[in-house]
């Protein structure tokens, strides 16, 4: 395979793990990134990475439980085989990162320490202080640097990916990109292209994401024909520090280490937090969710915090909405050892020591569960078939997507500390499949040059056209971006209403045309950040349309997608017989809703807007069941549901219980 090359776009956890694995398999890689890869957004991940481990195993945990928690936490929306494979790989992924020298926190005996994260009852999360993403990224960055010295990896940093190059049969045979310093546009012939470009938080203006996370690379693939799945599922993280330029994440690990969320029971209580006695503090998560407490899944914690401020008027600050996240009961040295990184962030940006004063936090846009649609090939046990070129492949042959920019692993809601896992897992797992893809295809190096010249001139024309819009009468790209962010934040975050979504969709669609009329303050051809930014704003719009359209059409509530007009109510009857009857009806409604909406929403670009279709979810291993965290009457519903499941199994004895089918492997 001397003539073969792979182009990897994006140098976060997913892109770097794919790069190092491909290099190990002997494939030269061109690694393209908007920034030196060591500065990729993965550095912002704080809390940790999940896997079953020796300790949880002896408490009854296993890979199957991790799989089940992920599916249940994701409200049954992800296809199950990839998630199962990921859960079974998780211990191996952490072992590998350990061997690469990641400075995971240790127990006194020298084992990797673990903490608890949301949506599970086990301590599965390995961590390196509160900068786990940074530490994992550095370990991968170091390995890739090693391959760079070996000559198998060529880095192209400060390059902007403009789109895939397709041959006449629609196969992806490389990419087009622009040097952000010299502004040169060139093609990168490649036998496969791996897009690992992360999330799209900038569509919301301010989020917890880095400035690179525009989603424009994924959008460029989408506009070239790749399908985009489950766009409407955007995770709003419960705890972030509001800021003028960015909403800074305050990791779930703060709660994992014992942090408590509360507000004063009395509205507009002006006393300083430490003077409010315990009895007058409303620990609303603990009271409403006794089983999971402060560690309910993120979508639920976010809605509760939002609700307590917006509807119940219990915000702790009269000028802006926020609640307390309190760590002050935990010893200082313990906090410094396990959470130092995030406490410093709070201290530096807020000027208050969170070891002494409760932090003030509010939810913020954080993660995109949706992304480029990718395929998979299942094996007999319901996991993935290793080495299959279909795994992680978009619908454009030869174009792969991994990490946050794919739609595969987290369904309607991602569990904390599962994203680092999905990024590294998909990056490592994809390697052998790509090798097999390359073997079965003609080398890109042998293709006619005209294919590349065509793609190049198209992008050069786009660039020239933008630079010529210098009149100063057109749209200001920075203000247009702000406007887009405001619309998206208002219509498509925690609570969604159809009239608002309709209005937002119309406004954003009109922006498509306005964005073409952006006029630039810089028309030069040297480090022109103005033109790079304008292109990314233009390309945010199609993805914003996917988010809005997906949200508008989905008349239900599932995970992070919450519509008050379409949600399953709590039980209200007090009489046991009536309550049972109500629960039966609830389960009927649930089954009907599952039939109608347990589907991935799939967008394809028609040149003007996304066309939306639906695809069945692969539920071969776990039958969808109601997600009942904290629901009033949940115990009765659960009883009814279990009875139904038993009845169904008796009626169809040939089909073994799903747990036995796959849990045995």
């Amino acid at each position: 395979m001397a003539n073969n090359r792979v182009l990897v776009v994006g140098g976060g956890l997913a892109g770097l793990s794919a790069t190092m694995k491909l290099a190990e398999l002997g494939i030269p890689v061109d690694l393209l990134s908007l920034t030196p890869v060591k500065r990729s957004h993965s550095v912002c991940a704080q809390g940790g990475i999940n896997s079953v481990n020796d300790q949880t195993r002896q408490q009854g945990d296993n890979e199957w439980n991790h799989f089940d928690d992920t599916i249940y936490g994701g409200d049954f929306l992800p296809n199950q085989p990839p998630v199962k494979e990921m859960a079974y790989w998780a211990p191996k992924v952490i072992d590998l990162m350990d061997r690469l020298g990641v400075t995971f926190n240790r127990t006194p005996e020298g084992y990797i320490d673990r903490r608890r994260f949301g949506g599970t009852l086990y301590k599965r999360t390995a961590f390196a202080g509160a900068t786990t993403g940074q530490q994992l990224l550095y370990a991968l960055d170091e390995q890739v640097r090693r391959w760079e010295v070996e000559g198998l990896v060529k880095k192209h940093e400060f390059w902007d990916f403009l789109g895939p190059v397709l041959d006449d049969n629609g196969r992806c045979v490389g990419g087009v990109a622009q040097d952000m310093v010299s502004m040169e546009i060139r093609t990168f012939p490649a036998d496969a292209v791996v897009v690992a470009t992360g999330g799209c938080g900038l569509i919301y203006g301010r989020s917890t994401m880095s400035v690179f996370c525009t989603g424009s690379a994924a959008s460029r693939c989408f506009q070239a024909g790749a399908k985009y799945g489950n766009g409407e599922f955007i995770q709003v993280h419960p705890t972030a520090i509001p800021g003028a330029d960015k909403l800074r994440l305050m990791s779930e690990s703060a709660r994992g280490e014992g942090g408590r969320v509360w507000v004063p029971r009395k509205p507009n209580d002006t006393r300083p937090p430490k003077q409010i006695p315990q009895s007058e503090r409303y620990h609303f998560l603990e009271e409403r969710f006794p089983k999971y407490g402060n560690l309910v899944p993120r979508d639920i914690a976010t809605r509760e915090i939002f609700n307590i401020c917006v509807n119940e008027g219990l915000s702790v600050d009269p000028t802006r909405m926020c609640v307390y996240l309190d760590l002050t009961h935990i010893p200082r040295h313990e906090l410094d050892r396990k959470l130092g990184g995030i406490l410093e962030i709070y201290e530096k940006f807020q000027g208050v020591d969170p070891r002494e004063e409760p932090m003030k936090i509010f939810p913020a846009v954080h993660y995109s569960m949706g992304g480029l649609w990718v395929d998979y090939e299942a094996n007999g046990e319901g996991g993935l078939l290793p080495g299959s070129p279909r795994n992680q492949s978009t619908n454009i042959p030869g174009l792969y997507a991994i990490g946050e920019c794919d739609y595969q692993y987290h369904g309607a809601n991602r569990l904390g500390a599962n994203s680092l896992l999905s990024c590294i897992f998909s990056g490592l797992f994809i390697g052998p499949g790509i090798v097999n893809w390359i073997k079965s295809n003609k080398a890109a190096a042998d293709l006619p040059k005209s294919i590349y010249e065509g793609a190049l001139s198209k992008h050069q024309a786009r660039h020239k056209k933008l630079l010529s819009n210098a009149s100063g009468t057109g749209e200001n790209p920075y203000l247009l971006h702000q406007e887009l962010g405001d619309i998206m934040t208002r219509a498509a975050t925690v609570v969604r209403y159809n009239n608002q979504l309709t209005e937002a969709y119309e406004k954003v669609s009109a922006m498509n045309e306005r964005a073409q009329r952006c006029s630039l303050a810089d028309t030069g051809n040297w480090t022109n950040q103005n033109v790079i930014f304008t292109k990314s704003v233009q390309d945010m719009i199609p993805v914003a349309q996917c988010i809005l359209k997906g949200a508008l059409m989905r008349d239900e509530s599932r995970g992070a997608h919450f519509k008050p007009d379409f949600c399953m109510p709590s039980l209200s009857a007090t009489d046991p017989t009536e309550r049972r009857h109500e629960a039966e009806k609830w389960c009927d409604a649930f089954e009907e809703n599952t039939r109608k909406y347990l589907k991935s929403s799939i967008c394809s670009w028609n040149g003007h807007e996304p066309d939306l279709t639906y695809e069945d979810v692969d539920t071969r291993l776990l039958k969808p069941r109601p997600r009942l965290y904290g629901l009033v009457g949940g115990e009765v519903i659960e009883e009814v549901w279990k009875q139904r499941t038993r009845n169904q199994q008796e009626a169809a004895p040939g089909r073994p219980a799903s747990k036995e089918l796959a849990g045995a492997s």
Binding site: K92, R99, K348, T527
Partner: protein
Amino acid sequence: MITPGPEAHSARRPSKINVRVLRQDGPGTPPYWELHQVQYEPDMNVISVLQKIAAQATTIDGKKVAPVAWDCGCLEEVCGSCTMVINGRVRQSCSALVDRLMEDNPEEIQLQPMTKFPVVRDLVIDRSRLFHSLKRVQAWVPVDSYFDMGAGPRIPREDQEQNYPLSQCMSCGCCLEACPQFNKVEVVRHPGESDEAFDARKKEAYESEFIGPHAISQAMLFNSHPVGKNLQKERLDTLTSTGGIQACGNAQNCVAVCPKEIPLTTSIARAGRAATLHAIKKLFDR
């Protein structure tokens, strides 16, 4: 490092902020100062100031100019991108809060690119030399493969607590900016020069100069890892050759400016001892 919250200064809030930026259109062109003015808002940092400047693209005199170019990423001081010289001090612009800066100098905020790296444009500089130093010290654990071989070696908590701070180095370059022994190296591309030829010249130029405190500290980090130390000799060879540890003048500026408070001088002292032992050993092994 406790700083008073913005509430404390409400009485002195100005309505506008003057921002003086040292601009440069490209490599080899002369730098020039330019004065901008932006609307004051509570909780601003230098990033939000620069965002406003980019959106306005107009100087205080109303002259239309190209937006100021600058580099940024995470905006929470973990990526290292947005390092620049602010009011004479090297630091990240995301954690440079306007209210604090106004306390020191209410008249204006001064922004300059780092001086030890070639300017690409305005506040954007080329830090490839910094990353090249990491290659020179082979800052990685030389594992056999990425196959599943079980867990890594058990690490005492004490070792983790020593290594974790070193591993937080985000390659921002503050230590290099402050180091009197680290001098600017600017290799200018010849017309028509190929990428390979240009890279080779840069490598040669970089390797004849001081490697820098960040790389010395990384060498110590990997030398103390049970498998990382398999390359210990090679790292010490680098640290005892041209541009190695002997170039350090012990000014201790590096540790003073490190935003992550990494004990760089401790690493340098450790490297110095290890290098001496290494040199003696080499003498006897001859």
